[in-house]
């Protein structure tokens, strides 16, 4: 029992680590824009992120990828700051900028020395309502988007498998659309479609501005009021989202692509966090996070210990689960077989591990290990301003109050071994499972041709 005492001591030491986040200040403008300011005075910098409640889960067949294409077009100019000015101004001010589109959100960000914050607020307020969306720029930019799709998906067999798995697992819910869109939809997309999409979703009452860094919350509020205050709210429709029909049995799909190695993906339908702190099952997503940690939270977790080492059936294996989402999601296990082993053997070995969770014991040590990592990660994450702001943005755009993020560590700490077994038993069942397998297709050995740099190196293209 000495060991158990030692574990307890460590948990106490970990719990003593300061875990209160620096305070978040919330402001609400009359036009519906929400502003969250997180003070962090460690360095004289600021990150500004504007989050829109729009992404691929708002799309329907025929217009997939439109939210992401619009994100690209958001850099192509307004009347006041035409083509390329936005990026030139941010760069002149020493800033970094970019944007990203997810299933449930589209976000734009700038990172700047703290005195330059107003530059980014003015530019973002301008493009929230005044985007030009010219046909000529769109024609070029949609080609860039298609190249992005070729780069990330078409020519990457594992990403292609992932896309197919999602499109198979979800029958009606919009999470079956790839964020970047199907190629045929990109081919057919028109500038008029983007205008409609922009007018419908880009409004102050459909956005949250998150500012984190070495800033004075009241000053940020005044600057936000100055630049975003004059924008008018609009009627933002509730998204018309088809719910997922209940899956009625296991699905299997095979992807044959030119590739060298097989790959296995197992996806189980699972719930996400809801804004009902008092709801009876509100602990389940936290238990699923702990389950992911028991299986894959580090090199001493079960899958690495038993499947990569131990049985040596997998060369690599990983688990992913998103607790924040607008709609119910997936608990995904992905693996590459070890040399000489098959996808079938890996699947069998994974199933045995999942059965062991349900029918065997989860030790206090295992649980303490997972929780220790959660507690320390909560400190490590504060090393990144961007990450701190991002958590607030994700919560707000998936329908969760940002305050719920502050409860995360305590809610994880409260999960018991019994609850982990319970969610494994309830959700990791064949009836909600999709198994997707990449079957590599043999191809001719690649030919390599080398030519000296004669005159042809600079010949016309």
């Amino acid at each position: 029992m000495r060991y158990a005492v030692y574990v307890f001591y460590l948990v106490a030491a970990l719990a003593a680590a300061p875990s209160t986040h620096s305070q978040v200040h919330e402001f609400n403008l009359e036009n519906g824009l929400k502003l969250l300011v997180k003070e962090d005075r460690r360095a004289p910098v600021v990150v500004s992120q504007i989050w829109y409640r729009i992404g691929s889960s708002y799309e329907h067949d025929g217009i997939t990828g439109i939210s992401h294409a619009l994100e690209h077009m958001m850099f192509q100019g307004t009347e006041k700051y035409p083509d390329g000015e936005f990026s030139r101004i941010i760069a002149e001010n020493g800033g970094n900028e970019n944007a990203f589109t997810g299933k449930d959100y589209t976000a734009y960000f700038q990172m700047l020395e703290k005195s330059r914050l107003e530059v980014s607020l003015e530019l973002e307020a301008d493009r929230m309502r005044n985007l030009l969306l010219s046909e000529e720029e769109f024609r070029k930019e949609i080609e860039v988007v298609k190249e992005e799709r070729r780069l990330r998906t078409e020519d990457n067999p594992v990403a292609y498998l992932y896309e197919t798995a999602l499109a198979t697992a979800f029958q009606t819910a919009p999470y079956r659309h790839p964020i970047i869109g199907w190629m045929a939809d990109l081919d057919a997309m028109q500038i008029g479609d983007l205008k409609t999409w922009y007018d419908r979703w880009y409004a102050p009452n459909n956005a949250t501005l998150v500012v984190a860094g070495d800033v004075e919350p009241d000053l940020v509020h005044r600057l936000t009021q100055k630049h975003f205050g004059p924008l008018e709210a609009s009627m933002v429709p509730a998204p018309r989202t088809l719910p997922e029909v209940t899956q009625q049995g296991m699905k299997r799909v095979t992807v044959k692509r030119p590739a060298e190695l097989p790959h296995l993906l197992m996806a189980y339908k699972t719930p996400v966090l809801r804004d009902q702190a008092a709801a009876p099952a509100s602990w389940e997503p936290y238990a699923l996070e702990v389950l992911a940690g028991v299986l894959d939270g580090g090199n001493s977790a079960r899958l690495a210990t038993h499947l990569v080492r131990g049985e040596e059936v997998a060369a690599s294996i990983g688990v992913s689960y998103d607790l924040a989402g607008r709609l119910d999601g997936l608990f995904i296990i992905q693996a590459a077989p070890a040399r000489g082993r098959t996808v079938g053997e890996v699947e069998q070995a994974v199933r045995e591990q999942l059965d062991n969770i349900v029918s065997g014991e989860i030790s206090e040590q295992e649980l303490a290990r997972v929780k220790a990592q959660v507690v320390s990660s909560d400190v490590y994450e504060r090393d990144s301003l961007f990450y701190q702001a991002m958590i607030l943005g994700i919560f707000e755009t998936t329908g969760l109050p940002w305050r719920l993020a502050d409860e995360y560590v305590a809610r994880i700490q409260a999960i018991s071994a019994g609850q982990v077994k319970q969610v494994a038993d309830k959700y990791l069942r064949d009836d909600g499972l999709t198994v997707a397998v990449l079957e590599p297709q043999s191809r001719q050995a690649p030919g390599t041709v080398r030519r000296p740099a004669g005159g042809d190196q600079h010949a016309g293209g």
Partner: protein
């Protein structure tokens, strides 16, 4: 918490924001600051331990955490002939067994303490790192475990065999990625018989030929105290850091003095290499060996390349290839300084039927820049961006650790960060033009293209 939302960003620099930590994706886009308001660069302390290791320490008490990284002159360049992959294998095997502990016990020890272990191996150096909370009850056992891993690895025969097999899988996986194939072919072509020509992971044949005794010897010779640089950033005072550094390095093998760095024979003639691959895009890389860390031309080349192809959304390559023509999602150029002349590389990816046009645009843009240099306006914009964004480079312990490790390993001046902005601002057009002409010769560029052959060549087949 896990933030695994698949996200699609506007620029590859923003990459897929995936995985538990978003930091790497964000760090990839860091840029710079300004004349005013820069807080002083962190105070860098330096000493040598009794065992002969150089220590670099930055004290930072804002978060209750400590980062420790050990760097060894134990990268791919130090592999004996025919044993390519040995450096990566040795590095990946450190935590697979030490003393009485097996891989699971070692990992469990880090994980129960909430500590994060990492290991990496590249051309010039190999490293091991630990991030821990600063509470001595957690930090001390975590560092004891690190000492065990790096000083007393057991390299169990079974683990050696398994890691070899896993590395072979990784090598096979690279063959399904046109980008990876292009990178390996490019390095092989521009570096000839220098070890920079080799892939870090090795080849199927070379990895299979590695024996356990090669690994044991490589560790004994290359992971010596005198070959080590130790970087510490975080919540410790100097006295604590000295004690930590002394204990950590005391048990390291003595090691042997490294041989002189291998000399590079300059490439006299460029050429074009085509590798056919069943992808939709062609990946194009072109360039030649570039500069060393600490090279006197570093600042003119760095600032100049920022204008040519390093400045994110504002660079000539981005403008010509993507903005004007929509030919590629990414269009970059970069110098990667190493101990020896690291590569200068320009790259893009485009669909097969427009590869020759894209290549021509990239070549013309580079040639024009070398011939004529930047305009005064471009230079000022780049300097404003780099100097104005300087605080962003040092706004987290993780980023500071990265810079200090670079300064420490490459023996850069210890005031490198203090003088960085002044050196950037002192660069002139003439210096850029002169440095680019002397250091880059387009007639010596090697061009690598991996993907479908161009339409004409296919017909000729």
């Amino acid at each position: 918490m896990r933030v695994d939302n698949g996200v699609t960003a506007r620029n590859a620099a923003g990459a897929r924001l995936q995985g538990r930590s978003l930091i790497p994706a964000v760090a990839a886009i860091l840029l710079l600051l300004g004349a005013q308001a820069a807080r002083p660069a962190p105070t860098l302390e330096h000493w040598q331990t009794a065992a002969g290791s150089q220590v670099f320490f930055v004290e930072s008490h804002e978060l209750p955490m400590v980062d420790v990284r050990l760097l060894f002159d134990a990268g791919t360049v130090r592999e004996p002939a025919g044993r390519n992959g040995l450096a990566v294998l040795t590095n990946s095997l450190l935590d697979e067994g030490a003393g009485e502990m097996d891989a699971t016990a070692i990992s469990f020890e880090f994980e129960r303490l909430g500590a994060q272990y990492g290991a990496a191996s590249g051309y010039d150096y190999a490293s091991v790192s630990v991030r821990s909370l600063s509470d001595p009850a957690l930090l001390e056992p975590a560092l004891q475990n690190l000492r065990r891993v790096v000083a007393e690895p057991a390299f169990p025969g079974k683990a050696v065999e398994r890691q070899k097999q896993r590395l072979l899988v990784a090598i096979e996986r690279k063959r399904q990625s046109p980008g990876e194939i292009a990178r390996d072919a490019y390095h092989a072509a521009i570096y000839g018989d220098h070890p920079y020509a080799l892939p870090n992971d090795g080849t199927l044949d070379s990895v299979m030929s590695v024996q356990r005794r090669d690994i044991v010897n490589f560790h004994r010779d290359r992971y010596g105290a005198r070959n080590a640089r130790l970087v510490i950033v975080g919540d410790l005072d100097r006295e604590q850091a000295e004690a930590l550094a002394g204990e950590l390095t005391a048990g390291l093998p003595r090691g042997r003095a490294p041989e002189p760095f291998p000399a590079l024979t300059p490439v006299e003639q460029g050429g074009e290499i085509r590798v056919e691959h069943p992808s939709s895009q062609v990946h194009i890389l072109l360039g030649q060996p570039g500069i060393r860390r600490g090279d006197p031309d570093y600042f003119p080349l760095y600032v100049g390349n920022h204008i040519l192809g390093g400045g994110g959304f504002v660079s000539r390559l981005y403008e010509e290839v993507r903005e004007k023509r929509g030919l590629s999602y990414g269009a970059y150029s970069y110098f990667s300084p190493r101990r020896g002349p690291g590569p200068f590389t320009a790259s893009l990816q485009t669909r097969g039927d427009q590869q020759e046009q894209a290549l021509q645009v990239m070549r013309d843009t580079i040639r024009d820049f070398i011939d004529r240099g930047p305009t005064q306006a471009e230079l000022e914009a780049a300097q404003n961006n780099i100097s104005g964004g300087f605080p962003l480079r040092l706004d987290s312990n993780g980023k500071i650790l990265g810079y200090i490790a670079m300064i420490g390993f490459y023996d850069l001046p210890r005031d490198y960060l203090d003088t960085f902005v002044d050196k950037v601002n002192a660069v002139t057009i003439e210096q850029i033009r002169d440095a680019f002409k002397r250091r880059l010769q387009p007639e010596r560029f090697v061009t690598v293209m991996v993907g479908p052959n161009p339409p004409a060549a296919r017909e000729a087949d």
